[in-house]
Point group: C2
Chain length 330, copies 2
C-alpha cells in the first residue's frame, strides 16, 4: 500500500485537519467529525445535511458551502457516520426552517440517518429526508437493499442547495430532492480496486485483462466481469443500462465522474465517446461535469450520471455555488 | 495497462474530442491541436499562449478561458507541441497588443517556442516569452538544462492572465510573469510511476517499499529514492528543499498538487502536514489550492509549490477566472 498517510487508523482525523487548514470558509468540528460552513445558517433558510463514509472525496465535505450543503458528517473510510454525528450536525445548522437530510442508499447510512432524524425531531427540529438510489447496476448489493446511491447525489446537492438559498420551504426542498432523485440514473465501471488504508491491500482482485462492470463506490461487485474493453465499448456499457432503464430523452445534466485513480485525459477521452452515444439516445446534454466528484479512494474507473432536467433544474444548477468541489458565479 | 483508451496512438486526438464536447466556452482546432476560447481576444488585450506535452491535465488546456490563457497547444503525451502549432495559436489570438508565450523549461518546449516566436515576429506579431524553471529538485535533468518548470506555471497563468484582462501591456505582462517565476519554487515526490499509453507499461519501476523524491512530471529521476515514509516525513521532504532554496517567508500562494493517481483524501492529509511546516518556516499561506492541477498521467504522488506573494499578486489571484480547471467569481 503506497499512500500519503501516517497511521492507517488516523486517516480521517488527519485529513480533516488538512481540510480545516485549506478552507477558511469551512469550520471543522473535529470531535464530531462534521464539516460546516463558517457562517451559521441564515434565518429562514432550510439547511441541508449530508454525510457518509469517507473515501469518496470531494463528496460530501467538499460540497459544503454557499449554494450546496450546510454540513457534512464524515464517517471513517467506507463506514457510515454515527447518529450522534448526524444529530449534532442537524441541530447545529437548523435556523428554524428545518433540515433536509441527504442520504445515499447504503444500509448503515439509512439506519443511522433515520435514527438521527427521530432524535432531532424529538428535540423539536423539523426534519425531512431523501434517500438517493440511482445506480442502475444492481437491484441489491452487498451493502444495500435496493439500488445504491451514487452520482446523482452530487447533482441533487447542487440543485437542492440552490433551492434552499432561494427560499424554498422544507416541503418544497424535499419534493425537489425527490424529483431529482427520480430523474437520475448512474452506472460505473472499475479498472482497478481501491485500497482501504486499514485493510492495507486492494478490496478486490481484478486481473490485468479484466474490468468490473457496474461496480459500486466501495468496490461492491457489479453486474459482471468482462475482458478489458476499448473506451468506445466501455462508453456503451455505461450509456446502455441508463437509457434502457428509463426514458432519458430530453435535456439533461450529465456527469462523467472519475473514481479517484483515473487521470483527466482518460476521462475526457471517455466523455468524447459517451456524449455522442447519449445524444444518439435522445439525451440533450444541457450541462456537464467531467472530473472527480464522487470517488472510491484510488480506484481507476469512471461512472456516468444522467439527470433529466427542466428549466427549473437548470436554473438552480446555474445558480452561484462556492464550495471546494464545485464553484462558479461566486 | 488499464486505461480508458481506444488506440494508444490516438489518445490525444480523442481526448480533444471530449474537451470540445464538454466545454462550449472553448473551441478546439483539431488539425493544429490547439484549444482556444470561443470568443476572439478582445482588442487591446495581451494574449497568453501556453502548451506542452499532454498528460498533465488540467494543465494547459484546462486553463484556457476568461482570466487565464487565450490558447493552449497540446503535444502528444509527454512530447512538445511543434512550432507550427504554436505559430498558429500565436497568430490566431493576437489582437494587436502582443502575445506572451508561457513555456515550461523542457528542452523541446523551449526550442519549439523560440522558433515559433521568431516566426511570429517575422509575421509582425509582438511576442514575449517566459520560461518557468521553478523545480528545486535537480539542477539539470534528463529532459532539461537547468531547473524544470512545474507547478509555478499554474499560478503564473492565473496571475498573469488576470493582469492581461486588467489591461497590462505586453512588457508589464512579461515583467509580471518574470516576477512570479522568480517568486515560485516547487518540489515533488512519486509513490508510483505513470504509464504512457504508447509505451504500455510504467515509465519506471519503483519497488513497493520505495518512493522517488524530487521526481519530474514525466517521471524523470529526482534526487534519490528512499524507503516509503509517513506523510509527516514526506511533508518535510517537500517543504525543506523549498525553504532552504530561498527566503520563502511572508505571504504566499501555496499549491499542494496531486500527480493524477492520488486521491483527494490523501492530499488533504498531506496538506495538514505541509501547512504547519510552512508556517513554522515563516510562510504565511495567504491562498491555497489542494487538488490535481499539473499531473503526470496516473502517477501516485504530489508536488508542493510556494509562490511568494504581495498585494498585487493576491489581487490578481482573486480576480474572476472561468476555465475548466480553475473557476471563481465568474
Amino acid at each position: 500500500m503506497k499512500k500519503f498517510i501516517n497511521d492507517p487508523a488516523h486517516v480521517l482525523a488527519e485529513a480533516l485537519r488538512g481540510v480545516a487548514a485549506a478552507h477558511p470558509d469551512l469550520r471543522v468540528d473535529h470531535d464530531n467529525r462534521v464539516i460546516y460552513r463558517s457562517e451559521p445558517t441564515r434565518a429562514g433558510k432550510v439547511a441541508l445535511v449530508s454525510g457518509g463514509g469517507s473515501g469518496h472525496e470531494p463528496l460530501h465535505g467538499g460540497f459544503v458551502g454557499i449554494g450546496m450543503l450546510d454540513a457534512a458528517c464524515a464517517g471513517e473510510v467506507f463506514t457510515s457516520p454515527t447518529p450522534d454525528q448526524m444529530l449534532a450536525a442537524t441541530k447545529a445548522v437548523d435556523s428554524g426552517a428545518g433540515v433536509l437530510l441527504i442520504v445515499k442508499n447504503y444500509t448503515g447510512d439509512v439506519l443511522n440517518f433515520e435514527m438521527a432524524a427521530e432524535l432531532a425531531a424529538a428535540e423539536g427540529v423539523r426534519v425531512a429526508s431523501i434517500v438517493v438510489n440511482d445506480d442502475v447496476a444492481v437491484e441489491d448489493s452487498t451493502w444495500t437493499a435496493g439500488r445504491r446511491g451514487v452520482g446523482t447525489t452530487v447533482i441533487l446537492e447542487k440543485v437542492v442547495g440552490a433551492a434552499a438559498e432561494d427560499g424554498y420551504d422544507l416541503e418544497a426542498v424535499r419534493a425537489l430532492a425527490e424529483r431529482v432523485n427520480t430523474a437520475g440514473r448512474s452506472m460505473g465501471v472499475a479498472l482497478t480496486s481501491g485500497t482501504v488504508p486499514t485493510a492495507g491491500k486492494p478490496t478486490f482482485d481484478l486481473p490485468e485483462d479484466e474490468m468490473e462492470v457496474g461496480v459500486g463506490i466501495h468496490g461492491e461487485p457489479g453486474r459482471h466481469r468482462v475482458p478489458l474493453a476499448s473506451a468506445h465499448e466501455i462508453a456503451k456499457m455505461l450509456v446502455d443500462p441508463i437509457v434502457h432503464d428509463y426514458d432519458a430523452s430530453g435535456p439533461a445534466i450529465v456527469m462523467l465522474n472519475g473514481l479517484g485513480g483515473t487521470p483527466l485525459i482518460e476521462l475526457y477521452l471517455l466523455y468524447g465517446e459517451v456524449a455522442p452515444l447519449l445524444e444518439a439516445a435522445g439525451v440533450s446534454i444541457a450541462r456537464n461535469l467531467v472530473g472527480d466528484y464522487i470517488t472510491s479512494l484510488d480506484m481507476a474507473g469512471a461512472s456516468l450520471t444522467v439527470v433529466k432536467a427542466d428549466d427549473e433544474l437548470l436554473r438552480l444548477w446555474d445558480a452561484p455555488v462556492s464550495t471546494p468541489g464545485l464553484r462558479w458565479g461566486a
